[in-house]
């Protein structure tokens, strides 16, 4: 095992081992557990950064474990996987801090944090997966590790949400498996590093390959919450806030979107997709999802549900970018939104969690004047919400800008319309929340005020959203700098020679 392989393995182990230890720890050992968690995540971040540097300088990271002919486990570090791995590991650290604060005093914490760590291990596995089989492996494991988190509260409602989550996720997984096997029976094993299979297969199997593409997209589309497949996401909101953050920003939805990216860029490749002519389907699905998610978000009074529908809408920007895979600018927009959406959405969920945990506020109609009580939280919320709308200089604007440029470059004028309508809708469902929070007068006491201390809420709940909100601002402001998500995405896209 060379040093590159060692790095890959240790990236995975850095959260896996703490997770296993945490499972074995007795419930009362809070300090040790927190220590393990933080240690793991810090180690992971540093290792992932190391991976980034290595990839930047062209080192090869690859582990191959053949299982049966045609099926092998392949872990591979390429710029794209580094992007997702970095996002996940950094946000994991913040989510962990947040979760420690959030779950203070609640039962079954060692379970929670155990699954939490496993979940991130699996997500990083998805990031590092180098072929479809490995991707599938981690993709299914992700469902398993997140399920206990979704039903963590153990109420009937959460069980129902968990049930639907499973039905959707495993249904998608099954479709995905079928598609993968089918694809491999036609084109042989597909490694992501090859940037698409040979176009010679298209002549004889064009229709089937198009069908398989649709199946693959359905398979990952369930997690990415493309529209007819999104039903699980709003229901999964019954989970605790850190879990929602994890689902929406770090792991599940992101894994789906990442899957779309992989399928489009690495499995099929731009050339094949253009020849097959299936991209309009993806574009259509993404557009419908964007608009539908936004419109549904408008109707929600439950804050987390509104955020959930907003996620449905926002994540599809990634798919939208991918649907214009022949335009580098659009691809940049889509890829960078993977990071940007994650950071913004996690901020929003942190803040929603703070409101619920500190004041018992779950509904938007209860939020009148809450910014006076919790100014920092609401400031973070505001920044992230403005980012979602795409107000400069937040990172949301950067994504939309590149998507728009890509659309224009490809002559897709309808894309501008989509962006405009969706921005308006975003504004329509986010701005009233902000107005309520900042400018409305408080009506009566808070539903369930639980905390009164020096700061507006517990420090561990307060710091993570502030950090992410800061990132939302700064990463947009310095988007053109040498080190920024955008710069890295440009680096990725250069590698594809689109």
């Amino acid at each position: 095992m060379n040093s590159g392989q060692l790095l890959l393995v240790s990236i995975l182990l850095s959260s896996f081992i703490p997770g296993i230890i945490i499972f074995c720890l007795p419930e009362e050992k809070h300090r040790l557990r927190t220590f393990l968690n933080l240690c793991g995540s810090i180690v992971k971040i540093s290792l992932v950064l190391l991976l980034n540097v290595g990839i930047y300088y062209g080192h090869l990271f690859e582990i191959r474990i053949p299982l049966i002919p045609g099926v092998e486990i392949l872990l591979n570090g390429d710029p794209l996987s580094a992007l997702f791995a970095t996002l996940s590991s950094v946000l994991w650290l913040l989510t962990t801090i947040y979760a420690v604060g959030y779950l203070e005093g609640s039962p079954n914490r060692s379970h929670f944090f155990g699954y939490f760590s496993l979940c991130v291990t699996v997500t990083i596995g998805i990031a590092l997966a180098g072929n479809l089989v490995t991707f599938l492996l981690f993709y299914e494991m992700l469902t398993l590790t997140t399920y206990p988190l979704v039903i963590h509260r153990g109420t009937e409602k959460s069980l129902r949400a968990g049930r639907n989550y499973l039905i959707y996720a495993f249904g998608g997984g099954a479709v995905f498996l079928v598609a993968v096997v089918w694809l491999q029976s036609i084109v042989g094993p597909v490694d992501f590093s090859a940037a698409g299979f040979s176009s010679s297969y298209l002549d004889s199997n064009g229709t089937v390959l198009a069908l398989i593409f649709v199946l693959l997209i359905i398979g990952v589309g369930v997690k990415a919450a493309l529209v007819p497949l999104h039903g699980w996401l709003p229901q999964a909101m019954v989970a605790p806030a850190p879990v929602s953050a994890l689902l929406h920003a770090v792991a599940v939805v992101k894994a789906g979107a990442f899957g779309i990216i992989r399928i489009v860029l690495d499995v099929y490749g731009a050339q094949n997709l253009l020849l097959l002519g299936v991209l309009p389907l993806l574009a259509g699905a993404a557009t419908i999802t964007i608009l539908y998610g936004s419109i549904r978000a408008l109707q929600q009074d439950d804050l987390k549900r509104r955020l959930a529908f907003s996620t449905i809408s926002q994540v599809s920007y990634i798919a939208l970018g991918m649907s214009m895979v022949d335009q580098p600018l659009a691809v940049i927009g889509g890829l960078v939104h993977l990071v940007h959406q994650g950071v913004m959405k996690i901020t929003l969920f942190f803040c929603a969690g703070n409101l619920a945990e500190t004041l018992g506020i779950h509904r938007i109609s209860e939020m009148n004047g809450v910014a006076r009580r919790m100014p920092l939280t609401m400031a973070a919320f505001t920044v992230a919400a403005l980012g979602m709308i795409g107000i400069p200089p937040t990172i949301g604007f950067v994504s939309k800008w590149y998507l728009g440029l890509g659309g224009l470059a490809g002559g897709n004028w309808w894309l501008l319309l989509v962006l405009v309508v969706s921005s308006l809708l975003n504004g329509w469902y986010f701005l009233p929340i902000l107005i309520r929070a900042w400018f409305a007068e408080q009506q009566g006491a808070w539903p369930d005020e639980m905390y009164s201390g020096r700061f507006e809420t517990r420090l561990m709940l307060l710091v993570p959203p502030l950090i992410t909100a800061f990132v939302v601002l700064i990463a947009g402001l310095v988007a053109n700098a040498q080190i920024s998500p955008l710069a890295w995405v440009r680096f990725i896209v250069r590698g594809y020679s689109l």
């Binding site: 639907n164 039903g231 539908y292 419109i295 400069p392 405009v420 988007a479």
Partner: protein
Amino acid sequence: MISAELQTMLYPFILSLAAGTPLIMASLCCTPLKKSVYHFLPWATVPAIIVALTGPGDVIVEVAWFFMGGRMGLDETGRVFLALAAFVWLLASFSSRSLMQDDKNQARFSLFFLTAMAGNFGLILAQGMLGYYLFFAMMSFAAYGLVIHRGNADARSAGRLYLFLVMIGEVALFTALLILAYGSGSLALENIGGASYHTLTLILLFIGFGVKIGALPLHGWMVPAYQTTPISAAAALAGSMVNAGILGWLRFLPPGQISCPWGALLFIVMGAMAAVYGVIIGLTKKQAGAVLGASSISQMGLVTVIFGLGLLSQEAGLLALPVLTVYVVHHSLAKSSLFFACDIVQRQGKTVSNLQLAAILLPALALAGLPFTSGAIAKTAFKELTFNIGAPWSDLSVFFLPVTAMGTSLLMFHFMAVIRRGRGSEKDGANMSRVIFALSWLGVAVSLWLWPGASDFAGHSLVGTKILQGLWPIAAASLLFFVWQRISWRKVGPAGETKKKTVFDTLVNRVTSVLEEEEKDRQQDRLIIFLRRLVPPLRRVEKIMGRWKVVGLSYIVLCLCLLLLLLQ
């Protein structure tokens, strides 16, 4: 003297200080220092003033890391706008400081005030599309905080409308920028002339910046917002922020570089309509701020017309640019001065004295183009522009200008009447507001005469015919007003815009009720119920399959089947 190198190194710093200072102070509003920030409001404008007066001209500084490639610089137009903005903001911040003394939300106010200020300064200094857009958005959204500051129902509905239109403007602008950036292949404003302008782009830009200046279909926010915004902030809004829209047009549709007769027509027609429309609705308002808002719609209509004339051809554009500048300076100073006048009325606890009334008359009638005022200079400039461009515009202006002048005068008399009746409660800082008004008055009175950029027009405005032409509409208007005063003070309902909001609401409800909750959850439950219904048959069949007779039968059937199939 500092060396040239050092100077180049310092440029970015100096320039960014203009916008940065208010921004930093705004961020202080989020810290425990927030209580004291408002004391230092005026100081936030100082760097901008310094930059405007001494800043390096025609140097563009690239700041690559900043927001996808930041560029800033101070060209001549920018310098005028910056100086103007700094002056208005300086007065407005003095005014705010005394106005907000007892307000419990003073920190919040300072935050938005300073952010809007930073946005305003920043967009003037920006030389890249995105930079402009960034600061423009910053200013627009921050201004929302000022509009809604009072927090009553009126303020909220005005704020809603404002925000709605701002959003429309933002996305229109965003789209226009995308098209321009893609067309010109660069984000720099200098290269923008290279882009080919679609009609769509032009319309989008009209909408994007038109919201800010209250161009006709997008004017709805202006009257209610000016009415509810605290006066000092309204002065800034009317005196400086509005100009950001004009500057936007100048930056993105640079006169002299592009021409677009078709688009020009759009601007001229909409502008002319706004000029008349503003007067008409203004006369129905009974509140000083609202009247001023309506007047702004009207005045900005004139500006739109000037801009439209500049779009007719490249030569016309070169001619229109100075005229536009002059008009903008004149309007800003006069309008902010009128707002400060309202401030006096509200604070001094008694009705305005005749002396005060006379003083207020100067900026008011300046707007109407009274000879020897800045208004006269601006009107002269306008007229000369049309004559230089030639027929049919010169002929049209002969009719049009007096009409608007008369309308504006009517409106201003109406305003005076409103102010004369107005009476606020006695508050601290009345003297302060008097001083501020005096300063702004001074600005109106002398600035255009002293400013070299307007000296040609100033000279021409002193010609006898011009004086006469300036006077008769006012005289006619005063007569009309007198008659109208006698007839009645008709009661007018509250601002019609609140109704518009409910139209939007019903629209929302319409759209969303179609997609009403979908019963997704319940549908899934229905699936479960359906599956549960399957359970009894399943149980029954399973039980039957367990009977020995059935087993025997299936045993035999299996044997036979296998035998047959194997024998094939």
